[in-house]
């Protein structure tokens, strides 16, 4: 059974949760839970007695997909704008 003291001692040496978990043979989410007393998946923020590094869901879940950019969309938009002679004329020469 890994103790909180053991986890904290490693964290305080600047080792991240993933590495701590690997060294102790436990899951990184469990290492975070032992260190902080709260789950990675707990959305509420808590005032902790000592400042501990926060953690993301990637400690316990597979990689997440959340793209915010699709450059090809703006290529399409530029084509649409370019094909609009009135719009181009009204906007003046492209810089």
């Amino acid at each position: 059974m890994v103790s909180r003291r053991t986890v904290l001692s490693l964290i305080e040496r600047g080792i991240d949760y993933r590495e701590v978990a690997a060294r102790l043979g436990i899951g990184p989410g469990l290492a975070y839970l032992i260190a902080t007393g709260t789950s990675v998946t707990n959305g509420e923020t808590h005032d902790r007695p000592r400042e501990l590094p926060s953690a993301g869901q990637d400690l316990v879940f597979p990689s997440a997909h959340n793209s915010t950019r699709r450059p090809e969309v703006w290529v399409w938009a530029a084509d649409r704008a370019r094909a609009d002679w009135q719009m181009s004329a009204a906007g003046g020469p492209a810089e």
């Binding site: 059974m1 990675v40 998946t41 707990n42 959305g43 509420e44 923020t45 926060s54 993301g56 869901q57 316990v60 879940f61 597979p62 990689s63 997440a64 997909h65 959340n66 793209s67 915010t68 950019r69 699709r70 450059p71 090809e72 969309v73 703006w74 399409w76 938009a77 530029a78 084509d79 649409r80 704008a81 370019r82 094909a83 609009d84 002679w85 009135q86 719009m87 181009s88 009204a90 906007g91 003046g92 492209a94 810089e95």
Partner: protein, 1083 residues
């Protein structure tokens, strides 16, 4: 490892191993030790948003082997913080459950059963029918005015569709000339847009859920917040933990009441009397926030001497026309100015003209104030002392003078003691250092005076100085994932995107005339020409030029009301032949369900897109009228197409939550079988129609041929790229560079923007709606989570959080303030004000546009910059909220001779009879008050919940709630059946006898109320009669929303009759009550 039973004994492992406390390894068997969570073994996590209510809880969708295996709450969300309610938790079953259909079904005319059909054939058949019906029903003119439209096709959508889907629906149908385009927002929150929009300038909630935690007093009224928006309710609890007082005003004691400090039972349909009573108290006791009221509202504005109040005219305002039952705004004007609604004075005249012809109703133009107030020409006269007898403040005092605690008790059934307690909490928690918030839902909106309910709360919050400030505001709890979005990008007959009004038919109307009539000369709405031209460029691209008014003439014209309820009557009359139901189930969810079905039975063709075979798809086969013999399947000529829809996990797009926040959900997996997104359906339907019209030289087809419809597609299904549609909505400049704000829009055709209020959602080429910076890494505003319109502001009108001089009202309630050193507004939220406009700025007399607003005008979408206590225009049934009884009420109106809202919209029909009210003979046949409501475990008309085994097990059967006293009076037994009867129909439900619906003493007698959840219909796993069999079509004149939150009925023990005996029972009741076609239709 030793496999003997002794070694597997946990106690031995505990006492002999290292885990002596038994917290870990000792308590775990080998089998449980080998188990892995689906969340851990998934291949990937896809970020999503819950598709049920409009709280907008974030979800993690876990995918393994290209299948969704688990859905959980996303803890990074600042709104939901990882939580999901029972419905949200059941979304795995919604999306992967066995009840979902994946094949197309076809019912030929007069057919007895479904046939299978392949998707391509179905799409081509539907496209053929659109083209043919459009041709056959094309109207070039209506009463001498050019309209360029078809009344032969209509569409009704759900409000859990993505913004991008709604955008294509509106764009394609408008180009086809279809004006009867509607969605769930009509029947849900349309009155919110009118009430909030006319009061403040925008029709959305003024605040956001997380800000509830800063409130000192929360009044929840017209909402069962804890059960209907459970995850959002955590912020009420956060406020309570900080010491806030929570008040719940509701006919029923619910879980919301249980968690409140004070529950106030009220007779359904009387909230204006209650709120008016509080307004009277605030004014009489000088509890209003003087400086806020004086500077930020129109309290000091002088009203024309033509104005006469309901106190003078026994329940009518001046300007009422008995024949048309319409008011003229001329009698409510600001002294020395002309105030016109967004529809323009010209439209009002037009309305009057067409209404005299008797075949159209006045339209819901108040919704055009969703993001822009009425035009004010001239400078209103003011009395800064607030003593002028015709100033708004004094008029308000007189109007509510008789709304005394005793009157509140007589009307609402609330004792003066309890009423005084509410007043005390509210007033003690309002002022410079404290704020109170009102929260409501459809308990307020769905009345014949629904818009005025919202207006009453708006007036009260303005008087108390609670708008635009942290912990204050009015929270409109919307009940569908994107019902705000379906108003913003409106699949609504009377609006274009961004609350630009649909043009009316007027001879010789041009773009310039339209803009001059419909935009305001002052405030941000004065830039409407730039918003409209940019929209026309988005839709018709290079075809839209200054020489042809940017294709303004391509827009079909409306000539009155073409709302969802008008459409039903058009169907029955044989004028509407084709109908699209896109995620909507009116056979259960709309008022007078029978009339909905009778309308559909008179169609040529019907397209239903949904997850399962909802009642609106199967009424011809097994609907209630088939059971009673009123319809015969073989007689019904309607051709029905059922097309399976994709779930939110199977498509990308954005939902706009209840607080104007656009949140993006990503596609996790491809939909199976023939299931498709509505984005796919609309895009490919448009493609097929355009193919058919490609060679046409008919000028009527130009709007379709010239339509920009070149969206990129992806994947094996050719799914349109949703981000491309969002990009078009956001807009770009002449180089195709994304725009960052609506202030960049131009009226010269150099910018394109599909919805001006959403401009900025794709700023810098970043899908801002998809931003997911974890809440714990941000402050409480969490500005980097998704994106809210307008301009990513979270609290609207936040200039009012500072004093006129720009300093905060108090340190405790500071939000936005003027930084004199930097010469700009700053704070925790994006200032809802021109960033560098000094508090000292005063416009010149001839100033126009935004420059006409002074440095102390926080309501920047209003032409006078003020919050409107008195609405001189825009609200069709009066400048001030007034108590009227519901259409069907057991009580007379004790305040006025005027019983009901004189401007309400009636739909007399043999299947839509109204009941006697008050002291009229026969009223006692329907002696009880019914109020309908929603449950945690079901969703609106049931299409997304009654097919779910999880949710159906939790709420398996239709029921009603009655008090022990009513049960004793009518012989009702808990768990047995009861039959509820109105003049429309009768239904049977299980009886739940409970103290939660206590009898009230009203007008010196006891009234019993019946609580009735409305989710059920005969299909699905959890079944029952629909509550809307009982309701009538009678509407708020502003928003055309139906009255289903309060109507009178009878209740009796036992099951309802079967077959023809059912309509016979209803008819016997009608005869007893003496009901005729005239009953309840008097002014």
């Amino acid at each position: 490892m030793d496999s003997s039973w002794l070694a597997r004994w946990p106690v031995l492992r505990q006492v002999t191993g290292t885990d002596r406390p038994g917290k870990a390894a000792a308590a775990k068997s080998r089998r449980s030790g080998e188990l892995r969570a689906r969340t851990a073994t998934a291949d990937r996590v896809v970020k999503s948003i819950c598709p049920y209510c409009a709280v907008g809880c974030a979800q993690n969708v876990f995918v393994k082997d290209e299948e969704v295996v688990q859905i959980e709450g996303d803890p990074d969300s600042p709104i939901s913080r990882g939580r999901l309610c029972p419905k949200g938790s059941a979304t795995l079953q919604l999306t992967t459950g066995p009840s979902r259909r994946h094949g197309v079904l076809y019912r030929p005319p007069h057919g007895a059963d479904w046939q299978e059909l392949d998707l391509d054939t179905a799409m081509n058949m539907i496209a053929d029918r659109i083209v043919a019906t459009r041709r056959a029903t094309w109207q070039e003119e209506h009463q001498g005015n050019r309209v360029n439209r078809t009344m032969g096709i209509a569409s009704l959508g759900g409000a859990t569709l993505d913004n991008e889907e709604n955008y294509l629906i509106k764009k394609l149908f408008t180009a086809l000339g279809v004006v009867q385009v509607e969605n769930q927002a009509r029947v849900c929150h349309s009155s919110t847009v009118v009430g909030l929009g006319t009061s403040f300038g925008r029709g959305g909630a003024t605040t956001f859920l997380q800000d509830l935690q800063h409130s000192d007093c929360i009044v929840i009224e017209g909402s069962n917040f804890a059960e209907c928006h459970p995850v959002g309710f955590q912020w009420v609890m956060a406020a309570k933990a900080r010491g806030a007082t929570v008040i719940h005003v509701d006919p029923r004691f619910t879980r919301t009441s249980a968690l409140a400090d004070l529950h106030v039972p009220i007779r359904a349909g009387t909230d204006i009397a209650f709120l008016g009573g509080i307004i009277n108290h605030v004014l009489n006791e000088d509890k209003y926030f003087h400086d806020y009221v004086l500077h930020y509202t129109n309290a000091a504005t002088i009203i024309t001497e033509d104005y006469a109040d309901t106190e003078d005219l026994d329940g009518l305002f001046s300007g009422f026309d008995e024949d048309s039952r319409h008011y003229s705004f001329d009698y409510w004007q600001y002294e020395g100015t002309v105030v016109a609604p967004a529809s323009g004075q010209r439209d009002q005249e037009h309305d009057e003209r067409v209404s005299r012809s008797g075949n159209v109703h006045r339209t819901a133009r108040g919704e055009a104030h969703g993001s822009g107030g009425a035009a004010v020409e001239g400078t209103p006269e003011r009395d800064e002392t607030l003593r002028h007898p015709r100033c708004v403040f004094q008029i308000l005092k007189r109007h509510y003078a008789r709304y005394t605690p005793e009157m509140v008790e007589r009307i609402c059934g609330i004792t003066p003691e309890v009423f005084a307690e509410v007043c005390r909490h509210l007033t003690e928690n309002s002022g410079p250092d404290r704020t109170s918030e009102f929260v409501y839902a459809v308990g307020w909106t769905q009345h014949t005076v629904g818009s005025q309910y919202i207006r009453a709360a708006s007036i009260l919050q303005l008087l108390l100085g609670n708008i635009g400030r942290p912990g204050g505001g009015i929270q409109a709890l919307r009940g569908h994932a994107s019902i705000q979005g379906s108003s913003d990008i409106p699949t609504l007959f009377n609006l274009l995107p961004g609350y630009i009004p649909m043009p009316y038919a007027h001879s010789g109307q041009t773009l310039t005339e339209f803009v001059e009539a419909d935009s305001a000369g002052k405030g941000f709405w004065s830039n409407m020409d730039a918003y409209l031209v940019s929209l026309l460029k988005a839709w018709w691209g290079p075809a839209a030029t200054p020489g042809n008014d940017f294709c303004f003439d391509y827009l079909p014209k409306i000539t009155g009301s073409h709302s969802a309820y008008d459409t039903v009557l058009e169907q029955i009359a044989g004028n509407c032949a084709g109908y699209f139901l896109l995620g909507e189930n009116p056979a259960v969810g709309s008022a007078n369900a029978k009339l909905q079905r009778l309308g559909m039975a008179n169609l040529d063709w019907l397209v239903v897109r949904d997850f399962s075979l909802i009642e609106s798809a199967t009424w011809w086969q097994d609907g209630p009228e088939i059971q009673t013999g009123e319809l015969r399947t073989e007689d019904i000529g309607t051709e029905v197409f059922f097309l399976p829809a994709a779930a939110h996990t199977e498509k990308s797009g954005s939902f706009t939550n209840t607080n104007r926040m656009l949140q993006w959900h990503h596609q996790a997996v491809q939909p199976a079988g023939d299931a498709r997104s509505d984005l796919w359906f609309m895009y490919h339907l448009g493609r097929l129609v355009r193919e058919r019209l490609a060679g046409s030289d008919d000028p009527h087809d130009r709007p379709i041929i010239d339509l920009t419809w070149d969206y990129p597609t992806e994947g094996r299904l050719d799914e349109p790229v949703a981000e491309a549609v969002l990009a078009e909505i956001n807009g770009w400049d002449h180089t195709g560079t994304p725009l960052s704000a609506y202030t960049e829009l131009k009226a010269d055709g150099s910018t394109s923007c599909g919805c001006w209020i959403y401009c900025g959602v794709y700023a810098d080429g970043v899908n801002q709606a998809a931003r997911r910076k974890p809440a714990r890494e941000q402050d409480w505003v969490a500005a980097e989570w998704a994106w809210s319109w307008p301009a990513n502001r979270r609290i609207l009108y936040n200039r009012a959080s500072a004093r006129p001089d720009g300093t905060p009202w108090s340190e405790r309630k500071k939000l936005v303030w003027w930084d004199a050193e930097q010469g700009k507004w700053t704070g925790y939220d994006v200032p809802d004000f021109e960033p560098d406009k000094s508090p000292d700025y005063r416009p010149s007399d001839d100033a126009r546009g935004v420059a006409a607003l002074s440095g102390v005008d926080p309501f920047i979408m209003q032409a006078d910059g003020k919050g409107w206590l008195f609405a001189p225009a825009g609200v069709l049934d009066g400048p001030l909220p007034t108590h009227y009884e519901p259409q069907d009420s057991p009580f007379p109106n004790p305040l006025y001779g005027q019983q009901r809202n004189p401007s309400r919209l009636l739909f007399p029909h043999e299947h839509n009879r109204y009941q006697p009210s008050g002291s009229e003979p026969g009223a006692d046949v329907y002696p009880f008050v019914v109020t309908t409501y929603r449950l945690t475990e079901h969703f609106t008309a049931g299409g997304m919940s009654r097919w779910s085994p999880y949710l159906s097990e939790l709420q398996p059967e239709a029921f009603c709630e009655v008090s022990p006293e009513l049960a004793a009076e009518r012989g009702l037994v808990n768990g047995d059946w009861a039959t509820i009867v109105t003049a429309r129909n009768a239904i049977e439900v299980r009886v739940l006898v409970t103290d939660r619906v206590a009898p009230l003493r009203v007008a010196e007698r006891v009234v019993h109320q019946i609580g009735l959840p409305y989710h059920w219909g005969p299909n699905g796993i959890s079944t029952g009669d629909a509550a809307n069999e009982l309701s009538s079509i009678v509407l708020d004149p502003n928003a055309h929303i139906q009255e289903v939150k309060a109507f009178s009925a009878d209740i009796r023990a036992g099951r309802r009759p079967r077959g023809p005996d059912l309509p016979a029972l209803v008819e016997r009741y009608r005869r007893r009550a003496g009901i005729t076609e005239h009953t309840g239709t008097q002014r």
